[in-house]
């Protein structure tokens, strides 16, 4: 369709900015790189808003569903006559929603970073990497096909790697960056095999063909079976493995908490609002296929989400590092989105879970980015990440405090803030499809309120610490973005999401269910009150409770020892069990054989060499022995 051709520049512009600032990063004034980067991202923000406006203000087509528009689709590579890879732009409600999320959060983070990163030596490099990330993320959300999404999927991975390792002279940052890349790479191995399977059976990578509700493209994969499940289900579970890695779902989550080694604005952008929800987006992107494959793949999605939500919430309560609490909170909330997709049906009211998941993705992006940027302002003020070094900061940081409180209320799901609406829909969807998951989700809602307000009270209330420097409020470039995100966290819930985003693209009316709303609010408020009782004033109570919980508390604090299990597997099995023997085998057996052959040749030659001695007597002896031997052979053996 015409009229949207400019959207390609949303992808290309940050790439150009990356090239310019990347190549010139050592030559130009750092500030200039910052300004170029920020200007570039603001242009894409404007273009994104324009796109959203054009798309949603246009009249709905006759069938009443939001259309899929592909304004640009270049042929990038031809595997065969039928299997062609395109690079292009696909506009539909969820891609536009993601476009808004990415452009808004990325713009805010760029502006914020102008202040936060001001004195860092790698300032220009930082902005180059941010542009690289924005480019990759735009390419990912606007992808028209599985191959394109995989292409940009890897690129966001490497941007994340580069930014986590931004402080590359710190060994912990280097280790965290490596871990993030390798864990997600492992997950992407599954993703890639899933893509290969799906595309082989369907003969296409294109979402439009795959998602076609008549199921023609995926019929082949649906009818073939492998180990008791259809190949389609296997493919979708493998693709979900990629999504689970990127979205830090249990048990592929171990990289996300460590990723907090990166600069805080990066955590806000990549590890809270945009890249980590790519897995959710991937499942949503292929949702019609997941639905058509039967229930098994979605069941996996639902339970993975639910388990992660609970697991991460439990860990979040025990953590001391403010960014790690937020990281586990992110995991838990993404688990929420996943479970919501997992319990969703397709079409009409059945598809409530799908809408709710996207809704929560949107609202979460706003308040979680706000939480991270707020945390950044706190860290900026006290020069520490640890809650033990904080307390009573509401006096020193009034603006940050207000913004942070808004975000905490939003994530806890207190009406009328945005989190309330989206979480409410998720609970409603869960209740109608799977009561067990509903139970878990409700419990997590309470835990969320508890750990968020534990953080809030310990940082902004509680005992005032002896600060080396008097903490001071962040500058305007930093608190400005906080205000924007806080405003969005407040009003975001009033967007009639069902009108725009639904599983079958039809306009869906959402009916808040009073009973669920009240239950959820009561649970959340209980969580908040508990946190207030325990943490508002310094008290010995939390320690006593922790002590009485004994090993449960200890294992949660130690992240349920998942990292140790992974370390065991990689160190003992992959390194000591495979790599070292392979290296030894190659040097000693394979190469040893080659050397042995060479030595043998040399040995034989030195023996044979002796025969040609130049002594006539020796030759004569040889001659006589030879003749006698032949005579014996001829007479006695061959019987001449």
């Amino acid at each position: 369709m015409e009229g949207y051709a400019y959207t390609i520049w949303i992808i290309l512009l940050p790439f150009l900015v990356f090239l310019v600032t990347g190549v010139l990063s050592l030559r130009i004034r750092p500030q200039l790189a910052g300004w170029i980067g920020t200007a570039g991202i603001l242009v894409t923000l404007v273009l994104s808003l324009l796109t959203a406006w054009n798309y949603f203000s246009a009249a709905l087509p006759a069938d009443g569903g939001w259309p899929t528009v592909i304004p640009v689709n270049y042929t990038w590579l031809r595997f065969s006559d039928t299997l062609v890879v395109h690079m292009g732009v696909l506009l539909d409600p969820i891609s536009i929603m993601m476009l808004l999320v990415v452009s808004i959060v990325s713009s805010m983070v760029h502006i914020y970073s102008l202040g936060y990163m001001k004195d860092e030596p790698g300032f220009a490099r930082y902005f180059a990497f941010l542009s690289l990330f924005s480019f990759s993320m735009y390419g990912l959300v606007l992808a028209t096909n599985l191959f394109q999404i995989y292409f940009f999927w890897e690129l966001v991975g490497v941007s994340s790697y580069l930014l986590i390792g931004f402080y590359y002279d710190r060994p912990s940052a280097v280790a965290a960056a490596k871990k993030a890349f390798i864990v997600t790479r492992f997950a992407d191995f599954g993703f890639l095999v899933g893509i290969l399977l799906l595309s082989w059976y369907s003969g296409t990578f294109d979402f439009l063909a795959l998602n076609n509700p008549d199921g023609a493209a995926i019929a082949g994969a649906a009818s073939a079976t492998f180990m008791g499940a259809s190949v389609l289900t296997w493919a979708l579970v493998l693709i979900f493995m990629g999504g689970a890695g990127k979205s830090a779902m249990f048990p592929l989550h171990i990289w996300l908490p460590d990723a907090m080694e990166g600069p805080t604005p990066v955590s806000a952008l990549i590890h809270a609002a945009t890249m980590v929800v790519a897995g959710v987006y991937l499942v949503a992107r292929l949702f019609p296929v997941y639905h058509m494959s039967g229930g098994a793949a979605l069941e996996v999605v639902a339970w993975t989400g639910a388990i992660t939500a609970l697991f991460a919430a439990l860990i979040a309560i025990t953590q001391e590092d403010i960014k790690r609490v937020l990281a586990y909170s992110t995991m838990s909330q993404i688990g929420y989105m996943m479970l919501s997709l997992g319990v969703s049906g397709y079409g009409g009211e059945e598809g409530l879970g799908y809408t709710a998941s996207m809704f929560h993705l949107f609202t979460h992006a706003m308040f979680k980015a706000l939480l991270f940027l707020g945390a950044g302002a706190v860290i900026h003020a006290v020069h520490s990440n640890v809650m033990g070094d904080m307390g009573g900061l509401r006096k020193y940081l009034p603006i940050t405090h207000a913004a942070f409180l808004v975000a905490c209320l939003a994530i806890a799901g207190i009406p009328p803030l945005s989190g309330f609406f989206s979480k409410d829909e998720i609970l409603a969807a869960a209740l109608h499809h799977n009561p067990a998951i509903y139970g878990i989700a409700l419990l997590v809602a309470g835990l969320t309120a508890l750990y968020m307000f534990r953080l809030y009270f310990r940082v902004f209330w509680g005992e005032e610490k002896a600060y080396a420097h008097k903490p001071h409020e962040a500058p305007l470039v930093m608190w400005g973005p906080l205000m924007v995100l806080a405003a969005l966290s407040v009003v975001g819930g009033f967007i009639p999401f069902g009108h725009y985003v639904s599983s079958d693209r039809q306009v869906m009316a959402m009916h808040p269910e009073m009973s669920i709303a009240v239950t959820a609010s009561v649970v959340s408020i209980a969580g908040i009150l508990l946190a207030m009782w325990l943490y508002r004033r310094p008290s010995a109570l939390p320690a006593q409770i922790a002590g009485s919980l004994g090993s449960l508390y200890q294992s949660a604090k130690n992240k349920f020892y998942i990292d140790e299990i992974y370390m065991g597997v990689t160190k003992k099995i992959l390194f000591a069990g495979i790599a070292t023997p392979v290296a030894w085998f190659d040097r000693h057996i394979v190469d040893g054989t080659m050397n042995a052959i060479a030595n043998l040749t040399a040995r034989i030659s030195s023996v044979i060499k002796g025969l040609q001695s130049g002594h006539v007597q020796q030759y004569a002896v040889g001659f006589v022995v030879g003749v006698l031997g032949l005579v014996v052979i001829f007479i006695y053996w061959l019987k001449f």
């Binding site: 042929t75 595997f79 890897e154 590359y168 002279d169 790479r185 595309s199 390194f575 394979v590 190469d591």
Partner: protein, 498 residues
């Protein structure tokens, strides 16, 4: 005159010019000028080739000509190129030119060094433009012999051992090869019912299946030795470790491609039935080397060994893809040859630059170099990312084509080996990022490193000559892939899948 002959004449003239240029500075200037001309000729060849194709010329080989050598044995020197050889010629020209720049500081016996280097390159160019087995073999040997001198004289460490080992193993491979090629000759028949070495004529006449069963493994293994086929790959780590920088670059970047190209052009193209029959065995061998090389690389501490094992893995993938015998995988195989050629040459160039500064190649002895050597380190990261198959760089396009092509075989055997080969992308990430993490990031290990000189202009030129094609191929692969794919049609017809 056939323009392909230019590719032999320019290096020959360069060698001639070098013989008359003495001193330390003059030889490198002569070499640089000569190889720049060669690069220009290769670019011109690509353009001319594309133009010819665009004009609708669908012949199997373009720019063909034929010169008589030994009449009564019907030995001729037949020239011609298709998309596959054109792209590999371009690769060779790029790597050779980069190699000359990287060797800018070679001053011991500079004249002799550049003569050997360019002779080696000449062998490679000759190999790629030949379309008869006799001249292919001749040029193949021409490329291998200077290698012995280059490692033995300008090498480091146990260089005699390494040079001898490399040459002997490759010679053993050529012994297999010679038997295979002669066998092909004696079973061939052209239109006039003569034996022939000409590839196209042999293919047209066909080889009886019994002969194919005998000669396919011989030629495949013979070329495979050069393509680092497990278990005949062990010359590679020792050879690379001792070789001077430019020689490692040419060797891993270009010479190893002769193996892959030979397997493709001779073993598969001339003996498709036997290839289809016996591919299973070699798929196991090559699929195994993909993972084996990757795991082998994890445990190495010397940068050159890491890169050598990584080459075993990547070149294993080339042969693996060739054995899949279909359009997509074969295209991927050629793309992988080009991609591997570029990035491995880049790796060796960078390792050379690092070694000259730090005097070590042991990863653990370096640290924090990103801060001191930003250009070299950044390019190292790019090479590493290309090696682990990052989108936007050349490796990704090649690997994905191979995987998609290999997946076109729906049986369990192919699927299992493909998935195993795919799993190497994870292991590759491990050893690449480990090096990046230890060597480039982290705190500066030695105080002396803080004052290391940055990259010189000739080093930057050499590196950029390789980085830019890696990027170009990764971002816009279509024209290259199409050019290669179009040339596969005759082969696919022979295989009965086109």
């Amino acid at each position: 005159m056939n323009m392909l002959l230019l590719l032999l004449i320019i290096p020959a003239l360069t060698v001639g010019g070098l013989l008359f240029s003495n001193g330390k500075r003059l030889p490198r200037m002569v070499a640089a000028v000569g190889m720049s001309l060669q690069f220009a000729a290769a670019c011109y060849l690509v353009l001319a080739y594309l133009q010819e194709r665009a004009a609708g010329n669908t012949a199997e080989m373009l720019f063909t000509s034929s010169y008589e050598w030994f009449k009564y044995l019907n030995i001729r020197f037949d020239l011609g190129v298709d998309g596959v050889s054109v792209s590999l010629i371009l690769l060779t020209a790029i790597v050779t030119l980069a190699g000359v720049f990287i060797s800018w500081r070679v001053e011991d016996l500079a004249k002799e060094f550049f003569v050997s280097l360019i002779l080696l390159a000449t062998g490679v160019f000759g190999f790629f433009i030949s379309i008869d087995l006799f001249s292919m073999f001749l040029f193949y040997e021409l490329a291998v012999i200077p290698m012995y001198l280059l490692i033995g004289i300008w090498g480091s460490g146990p260089r005699e051992y390494a040079a001898m080992k490399l040459t002997l193993m490759l010679m053993a491979g050529s012994a297999f090869l010679l038997v295979g090629l002669l066998g092909l000759y004696f079973y061939s028949a052209n239109a006039a019912d003569q034996h022939t070495f000409n590839l196209l004529e042999i293919a047209r006449g066909g080889i009886p299946i019994e002969a194919q069963r005998l000669f396919f493994p011989l030629t495949f293994v013979g070329f495979g030795v050069l393509g680092a086929l497990f278990p005949f790959h062990t010359w590679s780590p020792d050879g690379h470790a001792s070789a001077p920088t430019a020689v490692s670059m040419l060797h891993a970047g270009v010479l190893m491609k002769l193996g892959g190209y030979g397997c493709f052009r001779v073993a598969i193209f001339l003996m498709p039935e036997a290839a289809a029959e016996m591919s299973w065995f070699f798929i196991i061998l090559t699929g195994f080397s993909v993972i084996y090389g990757a795991f082998g690389a994890i445990r190495q501490t010397d940068l050159k060994y890491i890169n050598a094992y990584s080459s075993v893995s990547h070149c294993g993938l080339v042969l693996f893809a060739i054995l899949m015998l279909n359009e997509t995988a074969l295209t991927g195989a050629v793309l992988q040859m080009i991609s591997h050629g570029l990035m491995t040459a880049l790796f060796f160039a960078l390792i050379g630059m690092l070694y000259e500064r730090t005097h070590t190649r042991i990863v653990q002895e370096m640290g924090g170099l990103l801060k001191v050597l930003p250009f070299i380190s950044a390019v190292y990261v790019i090479a590493g990312l290309a090696s682990l198959g990052l989108p936007g760089l050349s490796g990704f396009v090649a690997e994905l084509s191979i995987f998609v092509g290999a997946f076109e075989h729906p049986d369990v055997f192919h699927r299992v080996w493909t998935i195993l080969a795919v799993s190497a992308i994870v292991v590759t990430a491990v050893y690449i990022l480990r090096v990046v993490g230890v060597m480039l990031m982290g705190p500066i290990k030695e105080p002396a490193y803080a004052s290391l000189p940055g990259a010189y202009w000739f080093e930057k030129t050499g590196a950029l000559l390789l980085v830019l094609p890696i990027l170009g191929m990764g971002l816009l692969p279509l024209w290259l892939a199409d050019m290669i794919q179009f040339s596969l049609i005759p082969l696919l017809r022979a295989l009965g899948v086109g």
